[in-house]
């Protein structure tokens, strides 16, 4: 049974060390509580604890509005995820194709989409495309760039998974008379997906984070709705705190789920 590193380092303390650890723990707790109290005092002195700034969180309409924003966030994130998974697969196939005519353009597209900030792509859809006469809705202005840049990353994740599947699996499939395509889709890819599920879910967290840019194109997601609430109630700090907490919760839940999925299947 392997022990954790902390256990080996500090697992068998001498009595003096135990006493020191205890004192230090109390001191650390004290310092942390003091810091928390300092933050609360800062809120108080700045008048940010006034009931006026918080009371609308007791209203159902506020939460309905925030929930609508969260739904907008999830709608965009889900579609971006679908685009990323399918386009990522196409890019992977191009990347692995034996023909250079397919492989090199795929590598170029992957490197380009991966190496460019999502925000820059959003600005292109928002500012540049309309100026050349292409009009798309705010939903697509946000979702398409996120889906595209995630697709490139997903293609690389897929590739890592495919390369992790032992070469013998392909050989066995081919020797059974399968075509390379059949071997890939029936034998290699399903196994590859098992390896990379945690990485794919981690990518989903990044997608949710990226939808925060929705306010840039005024698409009604959580951040945009937060701005509307702030404009209505003049309550900056509380709204941003609540929204930040909501984002943290959604993403934490997703990462937690990915850790659960990451446990060995066998």
């Amino acid at each position: 049974m392997s022990r954790t590193l902390e256990d080996i380092l500090f697992g068998a303390p001498r009595p003096r060390a135990i006493a020191i650890t205890r004192v230090m723990s109390v001191v650390a707790a004290g310092v942390l509580l003091l810091m928390a109290a300092g933050i609360v005092a800062r809120f108080r002195s700045a008048g940010q604890l006034d009931g006026r700034l918080w009371e609308f969180f007791g209203w159902q309409t506020t939460w309905a509005f925030l929930a609508k924003g969260l739904l907008g966030t999830l709608a965009s994130a889900a579609m971006a995820g679908v685009i990323a998974l399918t386009l990522g697969l196409l890019l992977l196939l191009g990347r692995l194709a034996p023909s250079r005519l397919l492989r090199w353009p795929s590598i170029a597209v992957i490197e380009f989409l991966r190496g460019t900030p999502t925000l820059l792509l959003i600005y292109v859809c928002f500012l540049v495309l309309p100026s050349v006469g292409i009009k798309i809705s705010t939903y697509w202005m946000l979702t398409l760039p996120i889906g595209l840049s995630t697709a490139a990353v997903v293609a690389e994740v897929y590739r890592a998974g495919v390369l992790a599947v032992p070469r013998g699996q392909t050989d066995a499939a081919l020797s059974l008379g399968m075509t390379p395509i059949q071997g890939f889709f029936l034998i290699v890819f399903p196994q590859a997906v098992r390896y990379i599920v945690p990485a794919l879910v981690a990518q989903l967290v990044i997608v949710v984070k990226d939808t925060t840019f929705g306010y840039v194109v005024t698409y009604g997601e959580l951040m945009q709705n937060a701005k509307v609430l702030i404009a209505n109630y003049h309550s900056l700090v509380p709204v941003y705190l609540v929204v930040a907490a909501l984002y943290c919760l959604v993403n934490y839940a997703t990462s937690w789920a990915s850790r659960r999925l990451g446990r060995p299947v066998h």
Binding site: T116, T118, S131, V216
Partner: protein
């Protein structure tokens, strides 16, 4: 072709400055973020439950919060709490905090690659736990995380684009493209140039990371 040459004539120096600012923001946030992340990872090893709990909360918050939301909070909400930070330091602070949380996580993974037997050996030689951490565990952990840290640095470089969300006197690449697209019809050319500069910067970082990795990796 005329588009591109006109773009370079009009905005060439601006692109140079924008690229420089992108790099500057990247480095200015990576260095403190990395150091802070290593400190957090080490402090999380100490057998002090309150400290461990607080640092776990710290890491989870800054790993999961969208950087834009954090930046907007720092820039627009903190002044209401009588904390006013200038725009550029706000961007650097945002990126450094997020970078530190991810660094702490990666360094922890690196620490896990160190074999327990080495620590037992060091302890039985009479080293104190703190010395074991700084001279046995950390050097190996840091060598093991070169590759994830390279990816983090690239992600951080791309994240500097969120500086375009605050009114900043200087313009980094994304803000410059947004301005050019607003002012003129050269948006597409500007975008292509900026994208090329981002991709080139990313490849440069990836190359440097791979070189460093080859130098320091531990073959087991």
């Amino acid at each position: 072709m005329g588009d591109a040459s006109r773009l370079l004539a009009d905005y060439g120096p601006a692109f140079g400055q924008a690229l420089f600012l992108t790099w500057k923001l990247t480095l200015a946030s990576f260095v403190p973020g990395f150091l802070l992340g290593v400190v957090v990872a080490v402090l999380r090893l100490l057998p002090l439950p309150p400290l461990r709990f607080a640092l776990t909360v710290y890491v989870e918050i800054f790993r999961n919060i969208p950087s834009v939301a954090l930046l907007i909070f720092i820039v627009f909400a903190l002044p209401d709490l009588n904390v006013v930070i200038d725009y550029e330091p706000s961007v650097v602070l945002t990126l450094a905090l997020v970078c530190s949380a991810f660094t702490a996580d990666y360094v922890r993974t690196g620490i896990n690659t160190v074999d327990g037997g080495q620590i037992e050996a060091a302890l039985s030689l009479g080293m104190r736990p703190i010395t074991v951490i700084t001279s046995v565990v950390l050097p190996q952990a840091l060598r093991a995380v070169v590759q994830p840290m390279t990816s983090l640095l690239i992600a951080l470089m791309l994240s500097t684009s969120l500086a375009s969300q605050v009114p900043f006197p200087g313009r980094e690449l994304t803000a410059l493209v947004a301005k050019i697209a607003n002012d003129s019809a050269a948006g597409m050319a500007a975008f292509a140039l900026a994208a090329a500069l981002y991709v080139a910067s990313g490849l440069l970082i990836a190359w440097a990371g791979a070189t460093l990795e080859k130098k320091v990796r531990i073959l087991r």
